[in-house]
Each structure stands twice: as structure tokens, then as C-alpha cells.
């Protein structure tokens, strides 16, 4: 039995409870009574993957169906991987401890580009052919992927049988239903894929042929086998009524987000031009306060967690935020539960709201200012003014805070040295503000942390056309920022530009990158998001060997007329809108948020009506 084989080695490795299942809330079924088995795979370690909300939702939703069984699977740490390879332990799922190669579906969630190489490693560990074309024509082992990265799935196209675009709550079950129907009929893989391609939101990459121009850009994308020319993402229209789990799997070992998470809204009204999530998750939809409170209570009671966090892109944009927080705090205080509120925006951060958060917990405050000058913030449509940042910091300092963390990006379109120096100057003005306040916290100095990421242009954003700064340019700007900071009260941290460069290539790449990813994995690349496991030199070798120029994807401006690798996928926002927004950005002109004024991004047409009705979202 695989379990005995696993247990033989568990005490030789770090945090063994990650590899053996048995957690409270995990779902065990009698496999003789199950028709379709789904291995939900997260291409990173247990500690990271178990924190992912999407997995929790789809896991519970699938398991509600008696004859379907969804299990979890994560990438093993290097210590356990070595043992698995040495002892022929194939990658297995945590509920049954059965090898995932025997499953009907092997589903990966693609949350970040730097997990791509780990997907290949997991398939290999599972004993599943890495390339889709090498898999049997029997109807089994369907390798699928979803999540934000599959809005441009082309760099992964050769490895997957199909991609699920958009939200999975409905389409996943439709896909499993079709599979079970055809399995009973004795159908083969290819005929299943042909019919699956007709389901809305399902993209079968092998049915699309790419041809290229001499300059390397795409000439044409041709659908085959009756597959639709354009595949449209799926969304849940009635978000307030959408399925939400009543229970989570509660891990024994500590994970990154070790708490109850309640989704309060999906989508975002802001339209920050660099933010992929802000566009691909449209339209903006909210849950009612009653639903949010009910789900919070239910999950806290069933899991036993003493911490709950509200999940969204911008919690303070909820139409009923004050009332919602009042009700939630009433419950959590009575039950001695900590409430954490990430994703609060600077501009509608009221004194009353801060007072409420303070009662809950006194932790650091973080603001995403993103740009160092007003001009640049206008370019990226981050509608936050310096007065707003200052007045929020003032409220925070007067309320007893003495540490502020600011997020910025470097390498943004139109950025000049003035914008970089502006980051340091803004931080300095916050330091000065602190010392100008009479009733500032005594006995402590102020700490302003500046965290500076490298801008990565992403598909389906107005900046999808933009090139990324070269590594040399980013390094020059990082040095300029460090030189502009004159005090130890400002702490600067930034990302490795080599990592950001790989991110943009994988985000904006096309099918020709599949071979590069394969070559990099062959050279030992995996866990690229872990700095200790990241080997940029190996990636560069892989690019060279495959004859692919990284700069073609990273540092080239993509033309408005160019066929982009993701143009045949429809995420509701139109290319016309993205071009319009790109032009507006270059004029340093902002676009109002969706609640103030509709900018005709294309979503409302899909939804058959306006996204907002008197300030409240309709969906």
C-alpha cells in the first residue's frame, strides 16, 4: 500500500503532517461509490497551496456531489521529493493517498507565472506524460488548469488538455458531468475534448493552430475540430447566492493564511491600469451583509479558527461597509475572534472605520500608493492623491500608529527619474508629518517602509502593450531610489529584476515558450517563486537553446494592431477599451471608477445591462 511506503519515510522530512492528510474537514468517500475523481493540484508547497481560497470553494462544491470526489494535491518539498523519486512513490492525493495518475481529472490552479515549472515537475512526479500529445487516447487523466494566469494560457498550451476560463463554480461540474456521460458510453479522449470545447469557458489548446509572421508576431490563429473562434470566460451572475463552503480543511501545520476567509466581493470598480485582477475579474459583484455574516459565523463554528479575514480586491468599496463591519465586529468580539481586513484603500479610509479596525487589532498599516508622483499615479489610474495619503497617515499617527508601509512600482510606463525620486520624497514627507503632530505616539520613532516591486505588464490590462524596463534600467532606478533616501526612518526593499523579467515573459508569451519551460524544468528549475530555488541562469540557457529571445516578450512594445497570444480569449473587457485606456494613460488622464461613471469596458454588454443601479451593484 502506498500509505505504508509513505509512512516509512515521513519522520525523515520537514513537517510530515503536510503529506499524510487526515485533517479536520477533509472529505473522505468510498471510492467504489465514486464515478469521477478530481485531483485539485496547487503547484507549490502545502503551506502556500492550503491558503488558497479558490481551492477551498471548488473542493467543497465538487464534494457536495455524492458521486464526485475532489481531493487535494501539492508539490512536495525538495526533501520529500528526493525520497519519493528514490522509493518510487508517485505523486498522490491527500484524502485517499492514491496516485493522481489514476484520477479522471488532474486540475491545476495557476495563480502566478512562477509556478509553471513546478506544474511540469508535479506531472513528472505523478508519472503523467508532460506533453498532452503524449497522453493515451483513453478517457482518463484529463489534465486541466484554471485561475488568473490562464487568461493567457499559451505558454502552457502543450502541457494541458484544456483550460477553464473565468470562474469555476458552474463549469467545473458541467465538465465532470460531460466526462461521466461519455465515460459510460466508452468514448475516447479526443471525442471528449471535442465536446468539451463546446462548453462555454472551456478552451482546448490543441484545437487552435498558430502561424507566425517573419517578424515573430502572430499571423493567424485558426480553430479546428469545430472549436469556437473565440472562447468566452465564465462568471457567476448571482454572486450573493453563489455556493460558499460551510467548512474548510483545517491543517495541523501552520500555513500562510491560517484563518477563515470570507469573500465579500468579486471584481473591482477601480480600474488601476496595471492591475490584471481589476480587469479579468469584472464585473464587480457584492455579497449582502447578511450573507457575509452568515458565512463568517458558519465557518468559524465549523473550523474552530479564531481569526477571520475578509477576501476581496478592495473591501472598503463594499456598498454596505460600515454596517457590515459593525455587525461582524459585534460577532467576532463576542466570540473572541480576530478580524483582519486586508485590501483597504487609502481614499475612503474614514476615521470611523479606523476606529473600528483599531478595536479589532493594532497591526501595521499598509497603503498601495504605487507611484511616487501625482502625474505617474494619474498615468496608472491609481486615483489616490497625496492629500489623501497624508490625511490617512495623520489619522493613523494620531490613532497611535507609528509604522506605515507603502507599496510602489518601478518601471511604470512614462516613468522618469523624477518619479523615482518622488517615492523617496513622499516617504520623507510622511516622516516629517509624523514629527509635526503634537499628539503623536510617544517613545517611538516613525518607521516608513517602502516596498518597491518591478512593474510587470499583464494581459487584459491597458498596459498589456507596454514593454518592461530592462534589467539594467531597473537596477539603475533602484540605486537612484536608495541614493534619494536620506534617513534610516525610511526602509527600502525591492524585488529581484531577474524574477520580474521571467514573470513578464511567461505572462505575455505565446506557444513557443512551452519548449523553453520544458527545457528549464529539465535543467532543474522548479519553485521559481522561492528565491533560494530560482536559477535565472538556467532559464537564460533554456531560452538560448530553444532559440527564443526573452526581449521579444519582455522589452518590446506590442502593437495595437498586433494579434496578441490571448486575443482569441474573451474576458469581457474589449481590446478597443484597453487601447483607449492605454492612450488615455499616455496623456496622464485618469478614468473615473465604475461606480461614478461607466467607461464602457465591454462588461455591461455581456451582462445585458448596467453594472450598477443607484450605487449598488446589480449582479
Amino acid at each position: 500500500m502506498l500509505k505504508d511506503k509513505i509512512e516509512k519515510h515521513l519522520l525523515e522530512i520537514q513537517k510530515p503532517s503536510r503529506y499524510i492528510g487526515g485533517e479536520v474537514g477533509s472529505v473522505i468517500k468510498d471510492k467504489s461509490k465514486v464515478d469521477v475523481r478530481f485531483a485539485f493540484c496547487f503547484p507549490d508547497t502545502y503551506d502556500i497551496g492550503m491558503s488558497h481560497l479558490g481551492m477551498k470553494i471548488l473542493y467543497s462544491l465538487t464534494n457536495e456531489r455524492e458521486n464526485y470526489w475532489c481531493e487535494r494535491c501539492f508539490a512536495p518539498g525538495l526533501d520529500f521529493e528526493a525520497i519519493m523519486r528514490e522509493n518510487d512513490i508517485p505523486l498522490y492525493a491527500l484524502e485517499s493517498l492514491d496516485p493522481i495518475r489514476d484520477f479522471d481529472f488532474i486540475g491545476f490552479t495557476m495563480q502566478y507565472e512562477l509556478s509553471y515549472s513546478t506544474v511540469l515537475n508535479m506531472l513528472d512526479l505523478a508519472g503523467i506524460p508532460i506533453f498532452a500529445k503524449d497522453r493515451t487516447n483513453e478517457l482518463t487523466q484529463i489534465v486541466v488548469a484554471g485561475g488568473p494566469c490562464v487568461c493567457n494560457p499559451e505558454p502552457l498550451a502543450d502541457f494541458f488538455d484544456l483550460f477553464i476560463l473565468g470562474e469555476g463554480e458552474e463549469v467545473n461540474l458541467e465538465l465532470m458531468d460531460l466526462y461521466w456521460e461519455m465515460k459510460q458510453q466508452g468514448a475516447d479522449r479526443i471525442s471528449f475534448l471535442r465536446r468539451a470545447a463546446q462548453i462555454g469557458g472551456v478552451y482546448v489548446p490543441q484545437f487552435y493552430e498558430f502561424s507566425y509572421k517573419e517578424d515573430g508576431t502572430i499571423a493567424k490563429v485558426t480553430p479546428k475540430e469545430g472549436a469556437p473562434a473565440v472562447v468566452k470566460k465564465r462568471i457567476i451572475k448571482n454572486f450573493d447566492q453563489v455556493y460558499y463552503p460551510e467548512n474548510f480543511v483545517v491543517p495541523f501545520t501552520e500555513i500562510v493564511h491560517d484563518r477563515v476567509s470570507v469573500e465579500v466581493l468579486r471584481g473591482c470598480i477601480r480600474g488601476c491600469r496595471f492591475c490584471q485582477a481589476g480587469f479579468i475579474y469584472r464585473p464587480f459583484r457584492e455579497k449582502s451583509t447578511d450573507t457575509i455574516c452568515r458565512e463568517t459565523r458558519c465557518l468559524c463554528e465549523n473550523t474552530g479558527y479564531d481569526e477571520v479575514s475578509l477576501a476581496s480586491l478592495s473591501t472598503s468599496d463594499h456598498f454596505d461597509i460600515d454596517n457590515m463591519l459593525t455587525k461582524l465586529i459585534e460577532y467576532t468580539e463576542g466570540e473572541r475572534i480576530n478580524l483582519s481586513l486586508p485590501s483597504l484603500r487609502v481614499d475612503n479610509f474614514s476615521e470611523a472605520l479606523l476606529e473600528k479596525i483599531k478595536r479589532v487589532r493594532k497591526s501595521g498599516l499598509t497603503f498601495a500608493a504605487e507611484g511616487g508622483t501625482q502625474r505617474l499615479r494619474d498615468v496608472i489610474n491609481k486615483n489616490v492623491s497625496e492629500e489623501e495619503i497624508m490625511s490617512t497617515c495623520r489619522i493613523a499617527f494620531e490613532g497611535g500608529y507609528s509604522a506605515v508601509k507603502l507599496y510602489f512600482m518601478m518601471g511604470l510606463p512614462t516613468e522618469t527619474d523624477e518619479d523615482i525620486v518622488g517615492i523617496a520624497e513622499l516617504a520623507q514627507r510622511i516622516v516629517d508629518l509624523f514629527y509635526s503632530i503634537e499628539n503623536r505616539p510617544k517613545g517611538r520613532g516613525v518607521q516608513v517602509s517602502v516596498s518597491c516591486a518591478t512593474f510587470v505588464p499583464k494581459p487584459f490590462t491597458p498596459f498589456q502593450f507596454e514593454p518592461q524596463d530592462t534589467r539594467e534600467e531597473i537596477e539603475r532606478k533602484q540605486k537612484l531610489l536608495l541614493d534619494s533616501v536620506k534617513t534610516k526612518k525610511i526602509k527600502v526593499s525591492y524585488h529581484d529584476p531577474n524574477v520580474s523579467q521571467l514573470e513578464v515573459i511567461l505572462a505575455k508569451g505565446d506557444r513557443r515558450l512551452c519548449q523553453v519551460i520544458y527545457a528549464a524544468w529539465k535543467k532543474g528549475c522548479k519553485f521559481d517563486s522561492w528565491s533560494e530555488h530560482y536559477h535565472f541562469d538556467k532559464w537564460l540557457e533554456a531560452f538560448a537553446e530553444c532559440g527564443v529571445d526573452p526581449a521579444f516578450y519582455a522589452n518590446r512594445r506590442f502593437g495595437y494592431d498586433e494579434i496578441l497570444p490571448w486575443d482569441h480569449l474573451d474576458y469581457f473587457v474589449t481590446k478597443d477599451f484597453l487601447i483607449r485606456e492605454n492612450k488615455t494613460a499616455h496623456q496622464s488622464v485618469t478614468t473615473p471608477n465604475c461606480r461614478l461613471k461607466c467607461s464602457a469596458c465591454g462588461v455591461s454588454k455581456e451582462m445585458g445591462g448596467a453594472c450598477f443601479d443607484k450605487g449598488k451593484s446589480c449582479f
Binding site: I20, G22, V24, F252, C300, D306, R336
Partner: protein
């Protein structure tokens, strides 16, 4: 307020829950049970519970001890036990709940069973006998003050030692409690000095916790 002492099992997959994780796991178990557990009254109130002895990662146990206080004086021990068992993780079960009798400091020893597995069962059995016949068994033991050489033989009480088809099954009592704690792996370590026969030690299980005169701790 009732001071409760619960005896619980930690078996099967639950043996991979580390001591640190066990703390968190019990906190959530208490919350799921919705028992009126007493919270500390300090600046950061938290539910009060404590474990008598730490259990090594990978060891099973029939007899782990956990103390906590219940604020409802009228609650029966059966109800406390049943409500916790209803929400316990797989492999963990409250065997009994009763009012605390002795102080934790009364614990003197603990009993462990384990198996030594080898290809050469007869040879290993001889080696175990030779080892146990030694007047002293010196071992380097890591303590808070550094590495110390100790003789574990005087404090080691072998309850049973049987040859099996696959090796040797052993049961022994070792000092435990607030003063001295010996882990049965110390014996395994010392045995390796007396034999070249390759073997592995497995199925460690704590089967009893005792105080003076071999009385079961409760």
C-alpha cells in the same frame, strides 16, 4: 469552575502532529466543541489548557494528559468528553475526563512500547540481551546546559522483551516528568553501539504515565 484532566489517545496519522501543532489543534477543537473553557484574564486572554508531557513526533500514545478548566460547575465529565470527541481530528480521542487529582509534578515515569525490525531477528534479540546485561549504558544526552554523558541503565526498567519473526518487541519504563525525561530512542541509540546488525525502530507508543509506587497518574 472545574479543573478537568483529560486522558487522550494520539494514534494513526495523528502521530505526525508535532507538539507545537497539537497546541493549535486543541485550541480549534475546544472552539468547535463550544465548551465553556476558562480563558486567562491577562492582557491577551486565551483559553487555558496544558499538556503534562510532550510526545515525540511520530510516537503514538494511549495516555496523553491535558488539563483545562471549565467555567460551568454543573457540566458532567461525560458531556465534556463527548463534546470534545465529536469534533476531534482523526486518530485523537478523549478516553476519559475526570477532575484533576494529582499535581503534574507527581509524574515520575512513562511506559513505552516499540518494535525493532531486522532481517536477523535472532541475532538482534541476542544483541538486545547483551545490551541490557551491561552494568551501565552511557549516552550523550543533549540538555539545556549542553551535552552531558548519562548512564540510562539504572533508570531503565524493562517490562518485556520478546523475539518476534521480524525482530524484537520491547516495553520499558523510563523516567518522565518535570525532572528527568528519557526518550526510548536513547536505548535504540545505545543498542546500535553493541551490534552491527542493521535494524530500524518503529511503532513507538506511550502506553502509561505513572507516579510514585507505579500508581497510574491521574
Amino acid at each position: 469552575m472545574i479543573r478537568v484532566r483529560a486522558v487522550f489517545e494520539k494514534k494513526g496519522r495523528a502521530k505526525y502532529i508535532s507538539h507545537l501543532d497539537l497546541n493549535r489543534c486543541m485550541l480549534r477543537t475546544f472552539r468547535r466543541s463550544r465548551l465553556p473553557i476558562w480563558y486567562t484574564e491577562g492582557f491577551n486572554p486565551h483559553p487555558y489548557y496544558s499538556f503534562a508531557l510532550a510526545l515525540s513526533l511520530g510516537f503514538e500514545s494511549n495516555c496523553e494528559i491535558m488539563d483545562f478548566n471549565i467555567t460551568d460547575d454543573n457540566m458532567s465529565m461525560e458531556e465534556i468528553r463527548d463534546r470534545l470527541n465529536a469534533v476531534m481530528p482523526e486518530g485523537m480521542r478523549i478516553v476519559s475526563a475526570a477532575p484533576q487529582r494529582l499535581k503534574i509534578t507527581a509524574i515520575t515515569s512513562a511506559r513505552y512500547s516499540f518494535s525493532l525490525v531486522t532481517e536477523d531477528a535472532a541475532g538482534l534479540f541476542e544483541a538486545v540481551k547483551t545490551t541490557l546485561a551491561q552494568p551501565e549504558l552511557l549516552i550523550e544526552k543533549k540538555t539545556k546546559k549542553g551535552i552531558k554523558t548519562v548512564d540510562i541503565r539504572p533508570d531503565m526498567k524493562v517490562i518485556s522483551c520478546e523475539a518476534t519473526d521480524t525482530g524484537v518487541d520491547m516495553v520499558m519504563d523510563l523516567p518522565a516528568g518535570t525532572q528527568t525525561n528519557y526518550n526510548p530512542t536513547l536505548f535504540v541509540e545505545v543498542l546500535k553501539k553493541f551490534t552491527q546488525i542493521p535494524f530500524t525502530a518503529e511503532k513507538f507508543c506511550r502506553t502509561g504515565i505513572f507516579c510514585e509506587n507505579n500508581e497510574i497518574f491521574s
